[in-house]
Homo-oligomer: 215 residues x 2
């Protein structure tokens, strides 16, 4: 299986690299091919927080892939005005086994028509953007899968999505290996009280809540 | 406060970028200066899984910083044979407000003498390396702080460490803002049964265990 990761000027660094790491660990175990970095504009894009990358290939020259991964970041809202980018993403939605987005990568999915009639999510601060599109069923979950389309909440949420994707395609044992390699057993420490806000995703409002004793 | 992130050929991508993102979000809130990427060898290093980066500056030309961050990756075991690198890291241990390592970044800390007489940790598969040094008190925790030295378990563990560091330096409210920006409320989904292994860190063996009802 061949994974390609989209990059562009103004990409949110962790959106991209959280899932890249998990796929890299998968490739190190020879379960898939090494991932590739496909730029939508500059060959040396700069991340939202100033980290500079070198892309492997430009999207106009990219060979087919099985899985396309679309990170978020403010630069995505610029690159989505390029009709060639939109056409490229639309084509991937038709031909790929899966297309995954993190955070505002969902804007690009939406622009390319990939979320039409689908359940999807995005960073909690940007849910309104998807809600403005009546063809999308917005879910306030950490990640959502609908057909060949996967989408996740903000930044770090992509890692939970990618692990679930790996489990769905390669099985629980492979997902367990990758999780252990990455030591992805995060602390459940919550700073402040985000659960008490009305503007966050439902899953955040429910953090730490116990299941009702009886239903 | 000025953060510098060390990079080198063969860096583990998420070790570096997980914490970079959190500091980037801190900088976006004007709480600290934008972070910088300081290379220990190549100006365009390639990560363990093939991602290519462009460093901001070479360590020989780097200006002083308040916080130095050292990621892991197999390349660290090569660069630590460079005496100038070791001297540079040793100097940072003396002059910085804090030096933090993720995963096998601890090897570089150890080589530079920064872990002498300290409690410290590393990726669960590499604990034996620190245990070979009788001057280190090895802790099987997700992250450890001892004086101006912070260290964490493998790959993703650095994010929990960095959030705790941010809370300790800038307060809980700032840590809460960054956690919410990054939507760092990970799923507690564990694939497989890593808790049943004897070779993992103690905190992994204790995952999901309930506190005893009475002590």
């Amino acid at each position: 299986m061949k994974f390609q990761f989209v990059i562009f000027d103004g990409v949110e660094e962790l959106d991209l690299v959280g899932s890249w790491e998990l796929v890299g660990l998968l490739a190190a175990r020879k379960v898939c091919e090494p991932p590739e970095l496909v730029t939508l504009n500059e060959m040396t894009p700069r991340g939202e927080h100033g980290m500079r990358f070198i892309a492997d290939i430009h999207f106009k020259d990219a060979v087919p892939c099985d899985v396309l991964f679309i990170p978020g970041g403010s630069g995505g809202r610029i690159v989505m005005d390029d009709q060639e980018v939109v056409d490229y993403l639309r084509d991937k939605g038709r031909t790929c086994e899966a297309v995954l987005s993190v955070c505002t990568g969902s804007y690009l999915m939406q622009k390319a028509g990939l979320l039409k009639g689908r359940r999807a999510t995005t960073h909690w601060e940007h849910l309104h953007h998807l809600r403005d599109d009546p063809t999308i069923e917005v879910c306030e979950q950490r990640y959502v899968n609908d057909g060949n389309i996967w989408s996740s909440g903000g930044v770090s949420a992509g890692m939970d999505m990618m692990l679930a994707f790996i489990a769905s395609k390669f099985g629980e044992t492979v997902a367990a290996d990758v999780q252990l390699d990455a030591e992805y057993f995060p602390s459940d420490r919550i700073y402040g009280t985000p659960q008490e806000r009305s503007d966050v995703s439902e899953y955040i409002r429910n953090l730490g809540k116990k299941e009702p004793a009886s239903k």
